[in-house]
Symmetry: D2
Subunit: 307 residues, 4 copies
Amino acid sequence: MIGTNVLRPGFVQLRVLELESALTHYRDRVGLTEVSRETDGRVYLKAYDEFDRHSIVLREADAPGMDFMGFKVINDVALSEYGVALRKRGLEVTEIDAGEQPGMGRRLAFVAPSGHRFDLYADIELSEYGPMVNNPDVWREDPRGMRAIRFDHCLLYGDEIDATKEIFMDVLGFRLSEIGYDPDGQKIINFLTCSNKAHDIAFVPYPEKNKFHHCAFLVEDWKDIGHAADLMSRYDVPVDIGPTRHGATRGYTIYFFDPSGNRNEVFAGGYTYYSDSPLRTWTGDELGKNIFYYEKELNERFLTVVT
Amino acid sequence: MIGTNVLRPGFVQLRVLELESALTHYRDRVGLTEVSRETDGRVYLKAYDEFDRHSIVLREADAPGMDFMGFKVINDVALSEYGVALRKRGLEVTEIDAGEQPGMGRRLAFVAPSGHRFDLYADIELSEYGPMVNNPDVWREDPRGMRAIRFDHCLLYGDEIDATKEIFMDVLGFRLSEIGYDPDGQKIINFLTCSNKAHDIAFVPYPEKNKFHHCAFLVEDWKDIGHAADLMSRYDVPVDIGPTRHGATRGYTIYFFDPSGNRNEVFAGGYTYYSDSPLRTWTGDELGKNIFYYEKELNERFLTVVT
Amino acid sequence: MIGTNVLRPGFVQLRVLELESALTHYRDRVGLTEVSRETDGRVYLKAYDEFDRHSIVLREADAPGMDFMGFKVINDVALSEYGVALRKRGLEVTEIDAGEQPGMGRRLAFVAPSGHRFDLYADIELSEYGPMVNNPDVWREDPRGMRAIRFDHCLLYGDEIDATKEIFMDVLGFRLSEIGYDPDGQKIINFLTCSNKAHDIAFVPYPEKNKFHHCAFLVEDWKDIGHAADLMSRYDVPVDIGPTRHGATRGYTIYFFDPSGNRNEVFAGGYTYYSDSPLRTWTGDELGKNIFYYEKELNERFLTVVT
Amino acid sequence: MIGTNVLRPGFVQLRVLELESALTHYRDRVGLTEVSRETDGRVYLKAYDEFDRHSIVLREADAPGMDFMGFKVINDVALSEYGVALRKRGLEVTEIDAGEQPGMGRRLAFVAPSGHRFDLYADIELSEYGPMVNNPDVWREDPRGMRAIRFDHCLLYGDEIDATKEIFMDVLGFRLSEIGYDPDGQKIINFLTCSNKAHDIAFVPYPEKNKFHHCAFLVEDWKDIGHAADLMSRYDVPVDIGPTRHGATRGYTIYFFDPSGNRNEVFAGGYTYYSDSPLRTWTGDELGKNIFYYEKELNERFLTVVT
């Protein structure tokens, strides 16, 4: 079978400089639900349409950025198999005990060549605030703030992005949906998917390892992208770029920053990917259109500001 | 691995009473592209965002309805394995030669307990009118008519729908995403998916085997559902119900008929399904809301008119 | 000059059977702001994008319906002139003292041949919750509930609707934008406007005088019509019909009832009317399409249930 | 009566360097209908939802820009009165014969202090391609290209914009809906309206007289702004800025250029203006947000490139 046992990006743990302003941002502006604050200071949040207990973890620290990103796999057997396969590939795999995050089972962590830590896990409690399942209404409560539906994907900056891509493809069974080059003919981006989404994770080359470009939240459509932009202007959320559209993935988008400088995206649309979809390729002369389909040019900030 | 090697509903072959009026409907109203007319009289069409050569096949006949529905599987090995597994399950499997539909490889056909014929296949030519892959624009030409993105799913009426469901689940690896009951406590609908879509096929019990309720085309959003409704009023396309929303799947919808009486749907939205998503269930007292979330009641025509 | 000195529908005073459930409806579902509760029991509300102090007045009573509807005119001189002109036309005009509604100046009240009471007024306090005017954000707070922008218009049922129309046109300077006939060739509706809107008030013939069909709230677009429908299903707000579209006015619409049985509408779109726009006319054979462009048929409830 | 007898911006005559490429732009991209090409070389176009014969006039010339902009007034008596009032104000008024543009009655032309020529007229033939009036469908044909609904307004650059504003207000009865200042405390923009629209014309100070910033076409909503952006990227229509939103007027917008360098806008939304609406004011420190609500900063091109 040519598939993957990875279900989806399940959570991301972010470092923030100050917890209260971060909560105002992710809860009141993005519209997430605060699930719990734990004794170690970490705060857990989730989007309204996610079944799992949490998807965003905030940790107060001296510098912003991503601690690690978690992928949920289909079951514990698959989790163990991934551990074996990663070690066979020469990667060091660390087992994180169940309960290190509340409600979550054991995790297997590895550091990709790009310098980013990824955690795999099979078990997490279902949330009592998840989607309804018995005579389900379309939502329990009218979505608030930017009306984020779910944590969707991350874009990460680091070196050795092709080596990292190969691990995601060869070991985890991801597919390469789309790639782009810069005007010098260098690979500038790899889009990888483990689902019917155009991307579940993407990597951009950068001289430093383990940098975080953004985490993205899905919203319903272009109207909700505009609504998110209204909120950002009203509440002085710093915008990077948008509302606009990506050439790659075709997603509607707006990029903005949390109070600690971590970049966020709200995202809608994007094509449906199947494993027989041809690879989409962007040449360097169309780099601007690749990233920002309407502007057809990159802004410097998008290329250089990472946490 | 707990997955499926079925990629998606790939095509449906429909019987129409009169070819020219059917073409006006599917090409000019729904917005499909006419791919070819073959010497045996069949006409092949596709939606603009599909890579494969065709997805809708029209055949002139004395009575409307569905000849068969095709599912594309990931490769020829998987196709053969499905053939073995179906036979092992006791089903008769017929091999259809490559080229029986232009551009398509060999197919394996079986008749489900519901009386419907399904064809599996692994190979079909890519269309020259498919999505762009080199510096791809979001579309080649501004979508026309109802702006149908792709052939999305079918809803079929027949008996033995639970036996049929089990074949789709046990043999083909589909998942059951959502079910509903009628006020008498009888199962009224099974939604089955082989992807991240809320459904790729659905079955409703009916005293007669092999009946066709509708085939659905995906459109971008609720705005395009309204636009499709404008077109239907302008061009006197008979509407069954809508624009409205489904409780089940959450999809935005409008149902209408082609000139031969085959029901079509344009559809947008719908939740993202993962294999760990809990089963959603609708009790009989909420049957109306299950099917039509806004009206909260069924119309008789929806329940009884099939081809 | 061929114009009118009537600015717009300014408010409507409605009778409700029970105040608290009415407030839940208009405040939490429709999304209005509660402005004040006065000692006489009346409650005043407004939509977020209205400058004036209030636009909806609720009065607890034994039977639902409309007490009267108010139109704001450009200034007190014009108000007096309208008083003179109405009396000259043979209508009895009653002066209501300033302050009878809080923050409102004197009103001139008359009863039209249809049996409905209309109040004209020139002065009302500006709300502190009105749109911002200094470096104005698009809204002060993210619109809630159905995101009603403003009180938009009323549709009233009564007899002598052509005589009423003539008073609105001859004395108040309204324009007739659109008319419709029933299959018997009887006038079924007059749409009247004092602005660039397709209608500010409309009248349908009915054997009884002074009946209230609905008051409408503007929402931004078709998406917000769908969102309102989601709210109605989630919170069991009884729906009459919709989401759908009107042939007449082209407005997107959904009709629903407050807990006392008064019909409401949320409305979006509609053409821009100018005083040189030709009269639009609907013949009786297209009555269904006139009222409900998508269904092309009336529902009995829409024709007969009034308060 | 405190009103105006000016109905709306009726047409604009633009100079283009090359007629065929201009037609491709305005007809195939913007989606206007070509009405006629006359022997003097001028080409007349209209948007699908306009009753009048034409609204855009293209004239081949050596330099791009605006020849003049026409406002339709309510009748010939009002036209004559405006002529008298303009002359009384000290302006030179030139009578243009009926038929100088096909289907159009006599025009009165004057040059405002800003250097721009404006024509007033009362009569123009109705188009056979205008909106339907008998059992009217929402459109005759599915709108094409950017789906422009109507010619909406112009923004003009010139000197003496306050003197110009006063003529529009004192003589023509326009209202000032919104103003903005630059960081030096200088008036940067006057928005003027003769209707319920947030603006029908706007003026920005510029050292040179008679410069054209843009003409705007209305589209239905934010979705159609995005669709217009898709078209611009697909067909290499040069974009100035957007999709974005204005703080002033609240309109959703995207600015782009015709092949001759004339700037166009597609525009949706914007608040409803009434003559009792308070003046909205933007201080200099919020100039960026005034013009581009999402970006909160101006781009140099928007300020300096005019034709």
